[in-house]
C-alpha cells in the first residue's frame, strides 16, 4: 500500500487511484478540506499533461 500524508491525514494512494474523479474523491471526504483531498488525489492520479504546441507541430509534420 502506498501511503501519502497531507497534514494529519494518511491517504492510501492505491485506493484513491481507483476513484474515478476528483469530484468523487471530494464527496468521499466531506470532513476534509478540499485542498487536502486534491493534493492527495493528484499524487494518486497525476493530471495528464496536455499536449504541447511543439508536439502538435511535430504531429502535424
Amino acid at each position: 500500500m502506498r501511503v501519502f500524508k497531507v497534514g494529519r491525514t494518511e491517504f492510501n494512494l492505491d485506493a484513491l487511484a481507483k476513484v474515478s474523479s476528483l469530484k468523487k474523491a471530494l464527496e468521499m471526504h466531506p470532513s476534509l478540506p478540499s485542498e487536502v483531498v486534491e493534493e492527495a488525489y493528484n499524487e494518486a492520479r497525476p493530471p495528464k499533461k496536455k499536449a504541447t504546441s511543439k508536439t502538435k507541430d511535430e504531429e502535424g509534420n
Binding site: 500500500m1 501511503v3 494529519r8 491525514t9 494518511e10 491517504f11 492510501n12 492505491d14 485506493a15 484513491l16 481507483k18 476513484v19 464527496e27 468521499m28 471526504h29 466531506p30 470532513s31 476534509l32 492527495a40
Partner: protein
C-alpha cells in the same frame, strides 16, 4: 524413585560446569497450547528465537499469541504433596509425584487488569522467565520447547485491596498439569537475555464505530484501562493499522482510503473507505503490530454495523 521410569540403575549425578539452572521467576508468558493452525505452539531454540518470541507477542490471532505478565513478586511454588501408599508395616510406596503449582503477586494493578489475568478460557501453558531473562519450558525435542502446561481449571486470581501498609494487588495461583508434574526432567532453560523482561505484549483496543455515510465513519478507539467515562484513547494509529471486514461479502483486510486522527479528542479517527454494498455487515479492525519487543501492540474490532 521416578514412578514412571526405573531402569535398574542410579542416574549419574556428577556436576557439569555448563549446567543451565534457572533463577527467580519474575515473569510469565502464557501461550495457548494449540495455535490457529491446529499445531502445538512452540519455540524452536535452534532457530531465530527473538523473531519467534516477537511473533508470539504480536500475533493478531489470539490462539497464536503470547501473553506476558511482568513484575511478579512473592513467587512461590507450593508443594501439593507427593502421595504414598503406606503399608501396614509403615513402609511408604510412592504412587504419585507431587503436583507442582505456582503462586505470585502482581502489584499496583487495577480490577480491570486482574480480570484480564483471570480470562484464561483455553488450555494454555506458560514460559517462566527469570530475573536474567532466561526462559523455561518443556523440551520435547531439541527444536521443540513447549510452554509448561497449566491446569487452567485450577487458576485462581484474588484481588487484594490496598490498606494503610499495602498496595492494591492480584494474588495468582495455579497448578501445573499432572503431565508436567511428572515430567519436570524435561524442563529446560533457554538463555535469552534481560531484554525479554521488557516484553510489552498487547493491549485490547475497544473500537466504537459510527457510520456517517456510505464512505465515512468516525472511530473512537480506546483502551480498556482508565477511569470510568474517560478510558485512555489510543493515539498514533496509522492507516495500515485499521482495516474493514465485510461479513456479508466474506472479505477481510479491506484497506481504508484515508485515516485522519482528531486534533482534539485522543483516540478519535475519521476513516474513509470505498463504499460497501448497502446493508452489508461491516466492522472496523484495529491491529497495530509494534514490531518491537518492548513496545505495546494493539488489537480490537468494532461491533458489526450496516453499511449505508
Amino acid at each position: 524413585m521416578d514412578v514412571c521410569l526405573c531402569n535398574g540403575q542410579l542416574a549419574n549425578t556428577g556436576r557439569s560446569t555448563n549446567d543451565a539452572f534457572f533463577g527467580v521467576t519474575v515473569m510469565n508468558i502464557a501461550v495457548p497450547l494449540i495455535g490457529s493452525n491446529g499445531q502445538p505452539n512452540t519455540i524452536d531454540p535452534t532457530g531465530d528465537v527473538e523473531a519467534q518470541i516477537l511473533a508470539f507477542l504480536t500475533a493478531q490471532n489470539p490462539a497464536d499469541r503470547g501473553y506476558p505478565v511482568t513484575s511478579l513478586t512473592n513467587v512461590e511454588f507450593p508443594d501439593e504433596g507427593t502421595q504414598f501408599d503406606a503399608a501396614s508395616n509403615g513402609q511408604n510406596y510412592k504412587s504419585r509425584e507431587s503436583i507442582k503449582s505456582m503462586s505470585y503477586e502482581v502489584r499496583d494493578v487495577s480490577y480491570t487488569y486482574m480480570e484480564q489475568l483471570r480470562d484464561r478460557c483455553v488450555d494454555y501453558g506458560i514460559y517462566r522467565v527469570d530475573v536474567c531473562g532466561k526462559f523455561l519450558g518443556s523440551l520435547r525435542a531439541e527444536n521443540d520447547l513447549r510452554p509448561l502446561e497449566v491446569n487452567r481449571h485450577s487458576l485462581s486470581v484474588i484481588p487484594t485491596d490496598a490498606t494503610d501498609s499495602t498496595v492494591q494487588k492480584a494474588m495468582v495461583n495455579f497448578q501445573f498439569t499432572n503431565y508436567e508434574s511428572n515430567n519436570f526432567g524435561q524442563w529446560a532453560v533457554y538463555e535469552y537475555g534481560k531484554a525479554l523482561l521488557k516484553a510489552a505484549g498487547m493491549l485490547d483496543a475497544v473500537v466504537t464505530a459510527t457510520i456517517n455515510s456510505a464512505t465515512e465513519a468516525t472511530l473512537d478507539i480506546k483502551e480498556i484501562y482508565g477511569a470510568a467515562g474517560s478510558k485512555n484513547g489510543i493515539v498514533g494509529l496509522a492507516l495500515a493499522d485499521v482495516t474493514i471486514t465485510n461479513y456479508t461479502a466474506d472479505t477481510s483486510g479491506v484497506a481504508l482510503t484515508s485515516l485522519t486522527p482528531s486534533p482534539t479528542v485522543n483516540g478519535r479517527y475519521t476513516a474513509v473507505f470505498a463504499a460497501q454494498t448497502t446493508a452489508d455487515k461491516i466492522s472496523f479492525v484495529v491491529y497495530k503490530n509494534s514490531g518491537a519487543l518492548d513496545v505495546i501492540s494493539y488489537v480490537g474490532e468494532s461491533a458489526q454495523k450496516d453499511a449505508l
